[in-house]
Symmetry: D2
Subunit: 139 residues, 4 copies
């Protein structure tokens, strides 16, 4: 990690530029990033489960942080071009985590795989996702 | 549409059982459903765009309503098993719409394709999605 | 369609540059392309069904032709960046068709939705797909 | 692995029931399976690359073998319900490998993540995929 690319710097950017999201960076490493989210009552779906879109949003955010890792800089304008998600089991709990692992980075895009789980139950993956972030083209 | 399966009945169920979502049903037809969402400041991403997860949540909801159409009943426990989304262009506006069209329904699942756009700009699709809803197995 | 972009010109290119594929262009129109494939015994899976990868290959090819339509030129180096497919019902028959419809084209990519069916049964879609073709970047 | 579920038993079933495929099982383990494919001239796309559908077919097959691992039996009628793939870099070589790892197994389905690479270059993943196999419902 460079000085510029720290958990604190990422969360400062997120808080300033995208205050509406509750997703935060909690870990960065070589080829991966972890994001966390505190579940609110608004995220609960019929049956008492953490909603699918809430898990999707967290996976999307973890992949955004992963793009910063791959690019070795905070690049807010890296944008999701596509993302697919599979829900594996009911998610019940107060805090959700997601780890995104780097598959590849090119001049155009960053591809990663993400796994979502309820805090304390890392062996019970609730969703698996894979997606692509587009890197802004330079001129 | 059966009496039981009306826009009003769906929105009543959504309001009661999933009060956290702002997505509402606005149209139902043979093999399709349309959902709408009023954008809030919390949904705005860096650059001023309606966030990807916000569009995903709307597509997910439109496909849920589509599952009701396919099953000819309101079935809150129909659950997304997988969903993939592609973002096509920046989404800027106050109200987002999504139409989900039925691809197939079987004993196990409902598959549909969804298109998202900003209200008033139906020719500028901002996201295209495709996904599967699992139907609860009866015994 | 321009003079350069005809069914015949596409199939000539395919035959020359990619002789291994049995997929051929059979129709081109404003925002869409149709590809066809004659099933061989090698494509039959346990149960007597046309294999999933065979349908995937046809969808991939139809989207390639769609990229030519979107770019208004034959561009063999347009490459699939991602593709997702859902299988809807068993496919049994001798000839498979796939229509790809344009969702969006940008400087970087072409996105389309594709539907596969057995010749003569256009109302029984056997697979639905959605994917992205990367356009070679010019300098 | 049970006695019944061996590399040899799988490849015998594949050879008998699906002779058209060149994909073979080369490794089985706790929660994973590896498949291999010898590239033929018919698989080469413009530019000299192993075609996308060829890599997709291998990933699909590795996930099929993974379903056998998850079910602890050879179940030829386990069928792909959906699969998404991302191509990460050009694939050039004579033999392609794919490892599929188990994400989850339920009564209805098996979900896995797959990575494709050219033999000898395991650090250069050429494609990443994720998908779902439907388990035949018992009565």
């Amino acid at each position: 990690m460079t000085d510029q690319l720290s958990i604190e710097a990422i969360n400062e950017m997120v808080t300033e530029q995208f205050p509406g999201t509750g997703n935060r960076c909690v870990e960065l490493g070589d080829g991966y990033a972890v994001a966390a989210y505190e579940v609110t009552p608004a995220d609960i779906r019929p049956g008492g489960f953490v909603s699918g879109p809430c898990q999707f949003a967290l996976a999307d955010c973890a992949l955004w942080f992963l793009a910063f890792v791959a690019l070795e800089r905070i690049e807010p304008m890296a944008l999701t071009s596509e993302l697919s998600i599979r829900y594996l089991r009911p998610a019940v709990g107060d805090r959700v985590l997601c780890r995104a692992d780097l598959e590849a980075v090119s001049r155009r895009s960053v591809v990663g795989t993400a796994h979502v789980w309820i805090d304390g139950k890392p062996d019970k993956i609730t969703a698996a996702a894979q997606g692509t972030y587009a890197i802004p083209l330079t001129h």
